[in-house]
């Protein structure tokens, strides 16, 4: 005389049910939702190797070169502009012109072959981002790109997810700065950011555009 199941089966059954619930609810639903918010997915804080070991710390931090010297299109084009090789040689014709680190640059110039950079801040092809208007309206470089002056190798500073974009498109006053501070990596608002932001919004005619075609066309 004995029962079909052992007494321990009760516990086993309950544990199994809970495990199943966790596996389904957690693994299939919560898991992916958490994953897409982690740097593993967004590729933040993931320094990208480049064909040329260009060090922003040195150029921006030490030498104090303005962002717009190399990214010279940022005020007039959708693209911020990755500098043509000739621009590198403006300086490097004179200085470090024998450095082996710069060999790929010289090779590019003399062979007339573009340097193939790896893109760091990737947007999907259906997103149309325009640098010029953002810079014009007082969005600083550092707001999206982070402290590039402290990056040996450039890495993605923000998730660039749509929700992140919307945050600023809905509340620009939280992020705007005066136009003359755009490239300042260490800008701190002198007074309350919200007050400045609201004033700048008025001054620059900043609209909170959240219509889809603002970015998707």
């Amino acid at each position: 005389m004995s029962s079909l199941f052992k007494p321990s089966s009760n516990t086993a059954f309950r544990v199994a049910l809970v495990a199943l619930a966790l596996l389904f609810g957690g693994g299939l639903i919560a898991g992916p939702m958490i994953y897409v918010r982690t740097p593993f997915f967004t590729q933040q804080q993931d320094p990208v190797d480049q064909p040329v070991q260009f060090d922003h710390r040195h150029h921006v931090g030490d030498e104090g070169i303005d962002c717009r010297y190399c990214h010279y299109l940022v005020e007039k084009s959708p693209s911020a502009g990755v500098p043509p090789t000739s621009l590198c040689l403006n300086c490097h014709e004179q200085i470090w012109n024998k450095s082996p680190k710069l060999a790929p640059v010289r090779e590019s110039y003399f062979a007339d072959r573009p340097i193939v950079w790896n893109k760091v801040n990737k947007l999907p092809h259906f997103v149309y981002f325009n640098h010029s208007i953002h810079v014009r309206q007082g969005v600083g470089c550092v707001t999206c790109h982070g402290r590039v002056d402290e990056m040996a190798q450039v890495e993605k500073a923000q998730s660039l997810a749509m929700g992140w974009c919307l945050e600023c498109h809905r509340h620009p006053e939280r992020y705007l700065r005066p136009r003359d501070q755009i490239t300042n990596m260490t800008y701190k608002p002198t007074e309350d950011q919200l007050a400045i932001g609201k004033q700048l919004m008025e001054q620059y005619h900043v609209e909170t555009r959240t219509s889809c075609t603002t970015c998707h066309r």
Binding site: M1, S2, S3, L4, F5, K6, P7, S8, S9, N10, F13, R14, L17, L166, T210
Partner: protein, 176 residues
């Protein structure tokens, strides 16, 4: 170590009657087992009103409220978008989902509430299953059982069971 005294009946009515009698005699831990619901057994066991309807109502109301507020929040607060010039908060268009989520949550509450709380299932092992004869309880026989922790009370209970008309009276002991 719990013990269960078991007794079998062939007729449901007799079973119900026996339960009533035993309860009136003050036998503790009484229960009946049948392949189908027996008429009058609730009375015989003096069971209180089931709380399932309350659970269902609570679930339904919460579900409906949740469904409505979800729609209201997402379409008119989280990201209000002009959709065909309709107002972002569409009361009438929120009704179907409110209803469906109410039903859904109510159904889930009833089902899981019954299974997990009211039935205490899953319980694949129960001391009663130690009895091979008890298998008929889900087939074609009617059983009564009484739970006791006291080994010495068993003979007395078995006697009472027999007196109430049960046959095949026997006792099972919980395995641990």
């Amino acid at each position: 170590m719990r013990r269960f005294v078991l007794g079998q009946f062939t007729e449901a009515a007799a079973c119900v009657e026996a339960v009533r009698k035993l309860r009136e005699q003050g036998v503790p831990g009484l229960d009946a087992h049948s392949p189908r619901p027996m008429h009058g057994i609730d009375d015989a066991l003096a069971l209180p009103r089931s709380k399932v309807p309350i659970v269902a109502l609570t679930g339904g109301v919460l579900g409906a409220l949740g469904g409505y507020s979800l729609q209201w929040y997402l379409n008119s607060k989280a990201y209000p978008i002009n959709v065909g010039s309709r107002p972002p908060h569409g009361f009438w268009t929120n009704i179907p989902i409110t209803f469906e989520s109410g039903v859904l949550i109510a159904v889930l509450s009833i089902f899981f509430g019954s299974i997990f709380v009211f039935f205490g299932l899953p319980r694949t092992y129960h001391p009663l299953f130690e009895s091979e004869r008890f298998r008929t309880a889900c087939l074609d026989a009617y059983w009564i059982s009484a739970e006791t922790g006291d080994e010495n009370a068993v003979p007395e209970l078995e006697k009472k069971f027999r007196e109430a008309g049960a046959h095949k009276v026997h006792t099972v002991v919980e395995r641990i």
